[in-house]
Amino acid sequence: MGTKQKHEGLSLARLIMVLGSISPLFILWAIRGTCQVPTAPCQAMNATGQMPKESCLVPNLYFVIVCCAFIVLPNAFLLLRRWTAHKHRDAREIVVGKAEDHRDHLLVYLFAMLLPFYASNLTNWREFSATAVAVCFIVFLFWSCSLHYMNLLFAIMGYRIFTIYPPDDGNPLSGRESVVLITRRATVFSGERIPSYRLSNTVFWED
């Protein structure tokens, strides 16, 4: 018995959390900008002998504002979601059957997200569009795979991420789906009961 389908719920919230998880990319892009700096010294001077201005795909100010919005708003939403869950006692008891420490997911995240996109060229519309579409694909994948817990903010705040599998107690009503627990614990032992706040139906946060 039990639900056969996975009902994740909170679709929009998870999408925003995924955007929060890619916020380091926007930090890097905000620093780099979309301006093309003249490269060769002979090309640098124009006919009047003045240094040419940078050619920017998007004006720096606007680009930085947009990047900052993508950095601040999703993470603010994440903290708001955590605060709301805390305020409404939206919590459940996570019972540990088996726990896996998933620090390696951060490496996957780093290689899947930060390195390729950091190296991408944003100085012409074609490259910019291709990069934006590629980011959309990655966001969709992270969203559909419920990888919204991938957030450097958690690591910065000293949290670890565990995948918790429920105990196999032979009870036909017990849940069978694994959940992700964000916690400050260094280890999680089998049999532990951990009251945790709900970020989404599969991601929980222990204060």
Binding site: M1, L10, R89, E93, P166, N171, L173, S174, G175, E177
Partner: protein, 297 residues
């Protein structure tokens, strides 16, 4: 045994519903805010208070109970059925949209947990909860009444039953009978119960009774009561025959074995369950009655 669970020390409250599913029943958890959790906790307090007003009696499937009583049966016992599984289940599947389709919902529940790992599971049949769905409610906002157009679910004032680690404390036995699926449980247990009775009463031929009880839930319930309360132990053959004759349950003796006549199987079981009795208060007039509910005096 009274409920020892301390409702003031609850640290987690989980809400959910039971639904009819293709392969039986399923129980899913639904996220709630703190207002609903407080209401669910209040309902548990009301139920405990209501239970405390009645004397505790042990549950027997054949017994007819009042609408509100304090009936107890063991959580590990044979009648707990799916309710024991619900109490012990860990990390129930979460389905926030379960109320979008209210038709298959047959009950709702709250699981109140304490930090020491103990839990109180509270269950209520979804009668009002479903019934109020399509009605239009009015609400006092400032000093004016306003129609609430949203789909609304109404919680009750108390639960039908509370489950702790040891016992199921039943406020409404009718709710327990439906929720635990007693009919199915006792019908499935007919062969085992017949075997148990046969061991206690080797001088009774249970062939007819076995066939009858397999298709009559009332007989299966009486059979289960006789077994669970040990009423067939040390029964004398002569006294059984005499009691049957006195109460009008016709029996015959075949090869030294007592056998109820066809059509008297249930009465024979009633005699064993002490539910048939005879009184003679008027000279020359014998009255026979069947007790739907009985208590030792």
């Amino acid at each position: 045994m009274p409920i020892t669970f301390d409702l003031a020390a609850v640290n987690l409250i989980e809400f959910g519903v039971g639904r009819e599913a293709a392969n039986g029943v399923e129980f899913v958890a639904i996220p709630t805010d703190d207002d609903i959790q407080s209401a669910l906790q209040d309902m548990a307090s009301q139920t405990v208070e209501a239970l405390s007003k009645h004397n505790e009696v042990a549950f027997a499937p054949s017994e007819k109970y009042d609408s509100v009583e304090n009936v107890v049966t063991a959580t590990n016992g044979e009648y707990a059925g799916v309710l024991a599984d619900l109490h012990r289940a860990e990390m129930l599947p979460m389905l926030a949209t379960a109320l979008n389709d209210p038709e298959p919902i047959f009950c709702y529940f709250a699981r109140l947990s304490r930090a020491d790992g103990t839990r109180l599971t509270c269950v209520r049949r979804a009668t009002q909860f479903k019934g109020i769905l399509k009605s239009r409610l009015i609400q006092v906002i400032t000093d004016a009444l306003k129609i609430v157009e949203e789909r609304t679910f109404k919680l009750d004032n108390d639960y039908d039953l509370l489950i702790d680690d040891d016992n199921i404390h039943i406020l409404r036995a009718s709710g327990f009978v439906v929720l635990s699926g007693i009919e199915a449980v006792v019908l499935a247990a007919v062969p085992q119960n017949i075997a148990r009775l046969q061991a206690n009463l080797p001088f009774v031929d249970f062939t007819l009774i076995s066939n009858y009880a397999a298709s009559h839930s009332r007989a299966a319930k009486v059979l289960a009561s006789i077994c669970s309360e040990g009423e067939a132990k040390d029964v004398s053959k002569e006294r059984l025959i005499a009691a049957c004759q006195e109460c009008g349950a016709e029996v015959q003796i075949v090869v030294d074995q007592v056998r109820p006549q066809v059509g008297h199987e249930l009465n024979f079981l009633y005699v064993l369950d002490r539910r048939l009795f005879r009184v003679q208060l008027v000279e020359g007039k014998i009255e026979r009655y069947q007790a739907g509910s009985r208590r030792p005096v």
